[in-house]
Amino acid sequence: MGTFIFLIFAALAVASSLVVVMHRSPVYATMSLVVTLFSVAVLFVLLGAPFLGALQILIYAGAIVVLFLFVIMLLNLQKEGEAAGRRRGQLWVALPGALIFIGMVGLVFWRAGAPDLQPLTEDLVSLKGLATALFTDYLLPFEIVGLLLLVAVIGATVAARRAPDAADGAGLLPREDFVAEETERKEARP
């Protein structure tokens, strides 16, 4: 049963992650990322980490992906166009990807002979054990992460605030000088 669930969601994760990196429309890529994250959340539950599975869906699918979609729609992004020489470039880029994959799989087999899986203990699965470790041994990292999130919120607000001289309030309409520069560039290109 566990093998069956693993195979279904592993295949789903690989297929949807391929859509994430190959689809030219950012909205479709983001929606496909939700499927990948959900599949990985199922695998977390299968590995005896139900709390992390829930967190994965809440934080990633619920918060981060919505943020991505919001920015994509705010910026009104279009599909990526085809670029010249794209195919040959992709071939070269696929090489490091393949090397990373082969290297990691090789490492898995090189390190084979790991101890057999122990049955899941209640201590490993329970939220109580996780919380106890988080608020005793890992209290300082926990506090630092809280500070990091606060700094990130302030930083994001400062970075994304509108320019004071923006004519349209949000500063997202085409600027005249940029449009002129863009037409110039298009005309210069043969």
Binding site: S17, G48, F68, I100, A112, A114, L134, A152
Partner: protein, 102 residues
């Protein structure tokens, strides 16, 4: 229930990480590059949880918790930067963001 060998999880994570790497290197849209990086972070998380299961130690799960928090902060700051870049340049195509080219 978990009769699946840990090495299968590790291979799946390796595959997801490789797909994410290729995506981050080939895409030109800044948002798509970001999505690929999220994919790579997730593959690393899967590895951590798998090893945590194998060792019977929950430290791996705690690290995943912190990785998720840092990923959320990274997404917020990164997307804010993209909005700022878009305001200034009207594009987030990374091939066109060549202001620092020497």
């Amino acid at each position: 229930m978990s009769s699946v060998p840990i090495s299968w999880y590790l291979m799946l994570a390796a595959l997801l990480f490789a797909i994410g790497t290729v995506g981050a290197l080939t895409r030109r849209n800044g948002i798509s590059i970001f999505l690929s990086i999220e994919l790579m972070l997730n593959a690393a998380n899967l590895t951590l949880v798998a090893f945590s299961r194998q060792m019977g130690d929950r430290t791996g799960q705690l690290i995943v918790f912190f990785v998720m928090a840092v990923a959320a902060a990274e997404a917020a700051v990164g997307l804010a930067l993209f909005i700022a870049v878009f305001r200034a340049r009207r594009t987030i195509d990374v091939n066109r963001l060549n202001l620092m080219r020497g």
